[in-house]
Subunit: 274 residues, 2 copies
């Protein structure tokens, strides 16, 4: 904490109190951002509850904590049915957070940070004012879900899995060495069609005649929807996964590719899952 | 290879040829087992094809390889609809493999090993003769899928995930620090109902009023179906996951618990995913 600016997200007085006590014991203070539920209904205080500002004030008053502001994640955007749906979610999030910040300020709380963040609605959120930080986490790599949500094109997707054909048991079926332990069992979300467990690239271009229809742990079962494919055992393909975040967590290192230059990038946070 | 008995599974002449050449270059030989597709339609030679015995003979004749026998995995058992379905799948697998071994022997091939293996039908397969090895991989830990398939009871499940309540945003909702990076997004398979992403144990007993209805990467959203739960932030619970195999791959070590004795068990194969 001497060398970095650290802030915690809290949304419950019990947890805030424990952090405060730990900081007080260490003779330190830590910044907190209070999580607000803007519609995903996972964590976060209800912005429409009359108790919410009082709860924020209660946590902000704890001796080991410095209240810094409000934070949200519009995860419901992953379930949007259209561009318009995303646009409306982005507007609603900004309005909800701005309004709540105003109520906090009216009660004497200094709200220095209003932090929003989700990759799918980012292009609409960024057209608004009323927040100080935006955290589009998936933006670093993008993935097939973001393509299906209109947030990226397939060419924007920077993370691919290199897989090898290990069997061809029938003319219309090849087996790749990339199962659920590589691609994860996450389906793609979004309003554009995205069946299967990722999109197979051939020479950098999606081959929509190859459907990754099933994953076992170490195997992908790929159907050639035209009845046959030229791919044979030993051939390699690249796959844009449905969800890049969970894929990175499964490997010790990624490979940065720039033309012919390739260098390893250790995944420092690998397996740091709680 | 000097210190261990190693055998490879092959189901395609191209792959077998490459192994044979690699072994020949190294001045060694390696045992092969030929994979047969007994109904899962992933890898494996078609046992009903008239070409199959010829393909096996072709691979068995390669100079770097020693043909040892046949191998199968009745993965279709995970999609069984009943106990009777499992029983029939077990019978069919044994019969298919025995018949194919006989045809191979009639063509002059020595079939020393007939290796079957899948945890769901194991209790029926083991009532038969006609194979030399059984490989029930999930048997080491079991999991909620095996319970839903009648292969285990919840008390048989040896692997649990310890999770902590990190928020309680509503009386009917708690958030655990075990998301898809811990439990994986694998649903349970089987013919007994098993909704959600694992079963939460309280004092060692399943609490069916707690439904793990959604996973984010680091969060489990748990609904208290009775409208409330006594669990509060800071409390810990154990979860029997839907699929133990993929869960073990996500951690550096498991903890062996025997009464009050606890010791770490490193996951040596972690991330060795291809």
């Amino acid at each position: 904490m001497e060398r970095t600016r650290l802030s915690f997200i809290v949304d419950h007085p019990v947890v805030a109190k424990q952090w405060s006590e730990a900081m007080a014991r260490a003779g330190k203070r830590v910044e907190i951002l209070v999580k607000i539920d803007v519609g995903f209904h996972r964590c976060g205080l209800d912005p429409d509850s009359r108790d919410t500002v009082a709860t924020i004030r209660e946590m902000a008053a704890l001796p080991g904590l410095d209240f810094r502001g409000l934070l949200s994640h519009a995860g419901q955007a992953y379930h949007a049915h259209s561009e318009d749906g995303l646009r409306l979610m982005a507007e609603a999030e900004v309005r909800t957070m701005s309004d709540l910040a105003s109520w906090c300020r009216a009660k004497g709380l200094a709200v220095d940070e209003i932090s929003l963040g989700a990759t799918p609605p980012a292009r609409f959120s960024l057209q608004h004012e009323g927040f100080t930080e935006y955290r589009p986490g998936n933006y670093a790599y993008f993935d097939r879900t973001q393509v299906a949500l209109g947030a990226a094109t397939i060419d924007d997707c920077a993370l691919t899995v290199m897989a090898r054909v290990v069997s061809k048991p029938a003319t219309d079926r090849i087996i790749l060495d990339s199962g659920s332990k590589t691609l994860t069992n996450d389906g793609a979300r979004g309003f554009a069609p995205a069946p299967g467990y990722g999109v197979i690239l051939r020479h950098g271009v999606p081959d929509d005649t190859l459907l990754i229809e099933r994953l076992s742990e170490e195997h992908a079962t790929v159907k050639a929807t035209t009845g046959s494919t030229a791919l044979e055992p030993g051939d390699r393909v690249r796959i844009v996964p449905n969800h890049s975040c969970v894929v990175s967590n499964l490997v010790d290192q990624a490979w940065l590719v720039d033309g012919d230059a390739v260098e390893p990038l250790p995944i420092a946070a690998r397996g740091r899952i709680t």
